[in-house]
Symmetry: C2
Subunit: 237 residues, 2 copies
DNA sequence: GAGGTTCGTGGAACAATGTTCCAATCGTTG
DNA sequence: CAACGATTGGAACATTGTTCCACGAACCTC
């Protein structure tokens, strides 16, 4: 069905799923997550809302497709180096992509478990395999890495969304830091002592340190020779 | 303002912010994230939508308040044991709460960075401090732990939402596993080999293994004596 | 090439949502 | 007891996702 014939066009410029998804990404990028409406999309494509529904089932599927487009683009280039380096490059690529397109975080949570997540899982999993992790722990370790990557990126995106493109980052961090310093002395004893660290922290750097922390944890389950051992964490019931 | 006098009631049962939030939680619990509408809430409270707006600014604030109510309840009881044990108990409590109320994941991402997140941050941070992590790394390490906990819980909740209350979990996992086994041999070589592990995995168990992995990573930055060292991860540029 | 058929189109219409507005009403205060 | 302010709750509004359907262009058959 819908066999694409020669370079013939229908009336305007041939409405296609790809063109719709591209327009959706553009709309999401400069109007935020709430900026994607079927009416705005219709106008951008010079058509009516009804036409779009012939190519996309509903808004959820559209958001998933837009999310997948961005993630697939990020995952396209192959990093090189040690497995650890590849994990860092992979993770940072996703982090930066979600930072640039904050709506991707919501799109990943919403659905897209169908196509997008397996893509990420595969890329990360191969590095876990090459790390020398024992086979029976591949699924768990890969899942943990993916969960941290997407979780940290999503929370960073949530902060970025509060910030908006117009608010000054340093100013915002300073305000939050000040708020923390004024919290209750007893109830928030710990938070108060790290208020200054929060003021001067760098999000990407912190994210990478988290990746290194997880990699270090994985390292404790693998002997230098590659012989696997159980995690070195303290007693568990 | 709004001084609560003696046990007098207005016309019905005295509409209060607390009563509204409680009703919102109940509504979210048995109708899902989309079940919270001001009309359904009005009906549940036997009032009109306008009345609610006198106690709550908008839907976003309402969702944040509902989220905070659930999280605060979870964080109420103090665990005991080693710092590691406390982190596990804390994390598992949050994981279970988000699993029971999947809409909390969305609520945490949306806003509530105001009150809820600092609460979690403080609780986790105290354990990081007791773990012997050097002071200048408290903020980063705590952030990473919180990011993993909330990220993993959120993704688990997303899966649970697809599942719904009526779909059989084993059946669903089996279906996904079969889908993975039928993926492209080259493009998804890794994912195919762990399809059977995904079929038989336990979400809570996997989450705890993730916590242990991060804790093990943290352990590499702290000597047994408590003397801090840098992470044991391989070279970084 | 002409006719019929199919499919994409796009605008109107529908139900439901968050939010605002305001008159009626209650509890409290002078 | 009267006046006032806070609370109430229902109607109204703008906007959303989605459905429906008449129109018309492209394709296939003869």
């Amino acid at each position: 069905m819908a066999a694409v014939s020669s370079p013939s066009r229908r009336r305007t410029e041939a409405l296609s799923r790809e063109r719709i998804v591209d327009a959706a990404v553009a709309l999401l990028d400069d109007a935020g997550e709430g900026g994607l409406t079927f009416r705005a999309l219709s106008q951008a494509l010079a058509t009516g809302p009804g036409a779009i529904y012939h190519h996309v089932a509903n808004k959820e599927e559209l958001l998933a497709a837009a999310t997948d487009a961005v993630v697939a683009g990020t995952l396209a280039d192959e990093p090189d180096g040690t497995p650890q380096d590849k994990v860092r490059a992979l993770a940072l690529g996703l982090f930066d992509a979600i930072d640039a397109h904050p709506w991707v975080a919501g799109g990943l949570t919403a659905s897209s478990w169908q196509a997008t997540s397996p893509r990420i899982f595969e890329k990360v999993g191969r590095q876990v395999r090459d790390l020398g992790v024992p086979h029976d722990r591949w699924f768990t370790v890969t899942s943990v890495l993916v969960q941290y990557i997407l979780g940290a990126a999503a929370q960073n995106a949530a902060n970025a969304r509060i910030l908006g493109p117009d608010v000054d980052r340093d100013e915002f961090l300073g305000a939050v830091s000040t708020t923390w310093e004024e919290l209750d002395t007893d109830e928030y004893a710990f938070t108060r002592t790290v208020a200054d660290q929060m003021r001067s922290h760098d999000d990407r750097e912190q994210f990478l340190e988290g990746i290194d922390l997880v990699l270090a944890g994985i390292g404790t389950t693998v002997r230098p020779t590659g012989t696997p051992v159980m995690p070195a964490s303290p007693s568990r019931s």
